[in-house]
Amino acid sequence: MILDQVIFLITALVIIIAAILVVSVPKMIHAALWLILALAGIAVLFVLLQASFFAVVQVIVYIGAIAVLVIFAVMLTRKAMQDDGPQLNRYSVLAAAVCLMLFVVLTGMLLSWDGASSLPVNPAVHPDTIINLGESLTNPQGYLLPFEVASILLLAALVGAIFIGREHRAGKEEE
């Protein structure tokens, strides 16, 4: 009962501190590493929510693929921005004030909402939710169409990323 609250609070603290460091540390490679810590904390939250599939997907897709991609991009563009120069633009103080105000307003709205204090309907999730998810993704009455559209989106992003990132030889290709 009280144990999961303690785990939640520790995880939430780690996530928020890591997220603030992601947007504030001057060295980009450190920001990418702090992002990995924040994503791992979110995977712990998914475990607490009993969404085991998404905890695994979070580790594989976000930490395994996206974070590694970001680290590669940081290394490839290393000489572009000196790490000792200013990393925040001139609007950063204004942006911080606006974001703090946004957080206060959102929290106030959430706390005034009746449903915010609701507890999980049934303490233990039915074990076959993962089966339900898989079946609804292949069911034409369910979510087959969004599933196929998502795969087309991934294919288009793959082709687009290869085309944009490819080195254009001068004189050989167009222009």
Partner: protein, 102 residues
């Protein structure tokens, strides 16, 4: 038992940190990291609502899969664009890439 509001407030805080990163970082890759934080906050919200309402409805989970897919596509294309920009202009600062500005 954790009340639903704890997840929602954590997610609101994560969104605000992400928005701050997108607005105020000069490095374009750092702006992408802010977008990642925002999308993760969305995922927390979706899964929390799925867990605290009817777990037999998988809509929240399906939507989380879509968000993860969109995030992966966005990062792949975004980083390819930034590397192409770096190759051509030798800069990765967002304010230096303003060729389309009127």
């Amino acid at each position: 038992m954790i009340p639903l509001s704890w997840y929602l407030i954590l997610s609101a805080a994560l969104v605000c940190v992400g928005v701050f990163g997108v607005i105020s970082r000069r490095n374009a890759i750092a702006m992408l990291l802010g977008v990642e934080l925002i999308l993760n906050a969305v995922n927390i919200n979706l899964l929390a609502f799925w867990r605290y309402k009817d777990v037999s409805h998988v809509t929240g989970q399906v939507f989380t899969i879509m968000v993860i897919t969109a995030a992966a596509a966005e990062v792949a294309v975004g980083l390819a664009i930034f590397i192409a920009v770096y190759r051509n202009k030798r800069t990765i600062a967002a304010e230096d890439v303003a060729d389309l500005k009127g």
